[in-house]
Amino acid sequence: MSLRNRELVSLLAAGLIVTLGFASVYLAQQSTISRGSISYIAVFLGLYLIAHIVTRVQLPYADPYLLPLAALLTGIGVTLIYRINPDQALRQGAWVAVGLVLFVAAIILMRDYRKLEGIKYTLGVAAVILLVLPAVPGIGRTINGATLWVDLGPFVFQPGELAKVLIVVFLASYLRDRRDVLKGAHWYSLPPIRHLGPLIVVWGAAIVVLILTNDLGGGLLYFSVFVAMLYIATGRLLYVVGGLALFAAGALAVYRVTPHVADRVAIWLDPWSDPNGAGYQLVQSIYAISSGGLFGSGLGRGALFTPDGSTYIPFLETDFIYSALVQELGLAGGAALVLLYVLFVYRGFRVAMLAQDGFSKLLIGGLTSTFAIQAFLILGGVTGLIPLTGITLPFVSYGGSSVVANLLILGLALSVSDRANRRMLGAPDRGLAPLGAPAR
């Protein structure tokens, strides 16, 4: 079977699963959900079929499983959001559409994604501006203690989600350039300070952003990604250990400045010390997860709502969507979702490993790490494995910026994959400069 036919079959399988999920939510909730809402699923699947046609024409050699996995994850997300709040499911569907438009645009416009290397400093500066944007008075918006949103009248978005992509692009090209210097001759040798300087600036920026926006999850994510990419580029554990130690030092300093962080850690250590106050979210999340049993209550049948119609867990459709999933689909459903993330991350790393140039490897390795770390931070947070940080579950949580950014990442990954596989199979490139030649 050709790669694209494999993609189509997998996509149809994903579509079938999501349709079944949607139907069971509808059956359980038909007294409160309008019949028209079931048509959302048709629109949703149609969008992914269009995306498939674009990859068939533009990227015939790209990895065939990443798009169906993304479709399944977003589909699970929309189904759960539909179960929690049908109106939001429609809005999420619209964001998926926007994301897929960007996905297509990324594939067509960035045929030669390596051009991104040439504008790395522009992108780096743009990323910092995007990160600081929510702290600008007037347009910035603070929700639940974290200053992460920009309010542009008709819609609110999280610039950090896009900044995340730009930072990885910047780091990939920067680390590709300085790779040999950073590697050093011995395990203990440190590179000259002028090469280390920009990296320390990035570290400092992450800490500053963390303080400015009060976003522990974001800070942790950026820094972990940075360390992961440094490791991919150099293979040196010294950087990993040193990087983590630096972050711990930075976090400890922040811990002194903002009580927010100290609270989070205290709740993680003992959620039941204040089950109706600070620990409420986590305690309720644990109740939801534990009561799901092996197979859950069934979609649409869990105990998620209080009699006045609000959810027991605040931010159920964003940060805590996994808790809702485990309650209604059980440990089996939760493990299946985690497995989907593992598969997605596996395909992502496979693309990076098959890529032939350092920039591509670092870019896709970095983006996939971002994806994996983000999923781990929030899943670990809501299950009590690590301190809870407010961050979205990639593709699944309600939130436009996150879905759009992740679909953009998918577009980049497929472009890289297509190029790598063409080289491997000796097929002609998409009218690009041959590899090995300078990109600019």
Partner: protein
């Protein structure tokens, strides 16, 4: 770089495995988490069950029903109490927000159909397979709605309680506690319930004063002392006593109290006359004559020193007896207790209105104390009877002769003694008043306990009104009369 990528992937795979392990851990912990307060799982299971209704004794007046409501596609049943504050303390409440009290708590298994009777188990399985809403069993109480309403009316604005029992069976016909509260407000407007004010401080509207309110029984306890005197055979109603207006205990004079009727000093009186006029000095001497052990033994026979049996939650009932601080006190030596003052219901003696009603009921029932009950029968969802409560003898308090002699004395109390205001035209009423000093600003706990008709008792009553400046005969007796009249009509 591929080596690094491969290793990094392994790290992520390990981290994700840890996530699944964490989920498994919580699944393993689930049984211990389920019972925790605030876990919605159990609550939602309860609230999606159609709880049984609660009826008054007529089988028609609904005390608790359900209001269905759609919440995210499921039918939820929220409790409504149409009679509001009428029987609030006995029925209690079942809400999501503050768990449960009263019969709503103690009978929860029946009300949610979670009990293990065979027919209920079958019904539950059927409902589950057919996807029907689980329905609970209904309760029919022994409470007489009309008399209960009268009791609440006469208690209006006061702090106290009225309990009426059917002496021959132990059925609780009235159990009123004032101030009461509207259980419909508990879920959303609990502040209003707690903020309620009353003639006493604290108002404690949630307290079931009938079974949790401890009051000094005062002269009503003379019934127990007199029962001891007669039943032991040491005295007869005609035994003569001398009342100098006081009695001497440990070299100190204990004076008669103003709630006695007649002169301050009676001189030579019979035991019967001492009961009729509630003469403290006589009972003080009688107590010293009988001794602490005998008096307390008879108190125990009437039910003191144990929580009165009833279907309401155990935590909502307290035992009567001597109290040291907030604990029941078992005297070891005679000298531990000032027996003269104990004999007329002072000392550290405290009793609940239900306990004193049980004293009256036992005397009315020829000395046999019946187990009080408030749930008459339990009905299946199809209205057939699942189980009915059979009257049960608790124990023999006194011999029939003693009961008859006490009844005769108590009739004199309402005829010509301190309880005249409890008289009901055409009915022979037996009673005993009480006015207990509380030591707080000249405020008294006032009592009337009794039964009627004296020759063929149908109702036994205890009325307690706290924080009064008047006497039991003036405050409590007329209220007892009004409530008994409704029941005897």
């Amino acid at each position: 770089m591929n080596r690094e990528l491969r290793r990094l992937f392994l790290v992520f795979a390990l981290l994700f495995t840890a996530l699944v392990s964490m989920g498994t851990y919580w699944l393993w912990r689930a049984p211990s988490l389920e019972a925790r307060q605030g876990n919605p799982t159990q609550v939602v299971r309860d609230v999606t069950t159609k709880r049984g209704l609660i009826y008054a004794s007529d089988g028609e007046t609904i005390l608790a029903r359900n209001r269905g409501r759609e919440v995210s596609g499921r039918r939820w049943f929220l409790r409504r109490y149409p009679t509001r504050d009428l029987v609030a303390h006995v029925v209690g409440y079942a809400t999501l927000e503050r768990s449960r009290t009263g019969l709503e708590d103690s009978m929860n298994d029946f009300l949610t159909g979670g009990n293990s009777d065979l027919s209920t188990v079958i019904e539950r399985a059927r409902a589950r397979f057919q996807g029907d809403v689980r329905e609970g069993n209904d309760l029919v109480l022994t409470i007489d709605a009309e008399a209960q309403a009268k009791a609440m009316e006469v208690l209006e604005g006061m702090c106290g309680s009225i309990v009426v029992l059917e002496p021959s069976t132990g059925r609780v016909l009235v159990m009123a506690s004032s101030p009461s509260y509207d259980p419909n407000l508990v879920a959303r407007r609990f502040d209003e319930v707690l903020g309620q004010r009353a003639a006493c401080d604290p108002a404690a509207p949630l307290l079931n004063r009938a079974t949790q309110g401890l009051y000094a029984p005062g002269s009503t306890f003379k019934l127990v002392t007199a029962a001891a005197a007669l039943d032991t055979g040491l005295h007869t109603p005609q035994s003569m006593f001398f009342d100098p207006g006081y009695c001497t205990e440990y070299g100190q004079r204990v004076f008669n109290y103003s709630d006695q009727s007649g002169p301050e000093r009676f001189g030579q009186v019979t035991l019967g006359e001492a009961v009729e006029h509630s003469i403290n000095a006589v009972f003080c001497d009688l107590g010293q004559d009988l001794g602490t052990d005998t008096v307390l033994e008879y108190a125990r026979r009437f039910g003191f020193y144990e929580k009165p049996p009833l279907e309401t939650p155990e935590g909502e009932r307290v035992a009567s007896g001597l109290y040291e601080g907030d604990k029941l006190f078992e005297p070891e030596l005679e000298s531990d207790v000032d027996v003269g003052r104990l004999a007329f219901g002072q000392e550290r003696l405290l009793a609940t209105p239900l306990q004193m009603a049980m004293v009256a009921a036992a005397i009315a029932n020829g000395g046999e104390s019946m187990r009080p009950f408030v749930v008459d029968r339990i009905l299946k969802p199809d209205d057939s009877v699942l189980s009915g409560t059979k009257p049960e003898r608790l124990r023999t308090a006194v011999a029939p002769d003693t009961a008859a002699e006490l009844t005769a004395m108590m009739e004199l109390v309402t005829e010509s003694g301190t309880g005249r205001r409890a008289q009901i035209p055409g009915v022979r009423v037996a009673g005993k008043t009480g006015t207990a000093e509380t030591g707080r600003n000249d405020r008294n706990d006032t009592w009337f306990v009794g039964f009627a008709p004296a020759n063929n008792p149908e109702v036994a009553i205890a009325v307690t009104i706290s924080d009064q400046s008047g006497t039991g005969g003036a405050v409590a007796a007329p209220k007892a009369k009004e409530v008994m009249e409704v029941l005897l009509r």
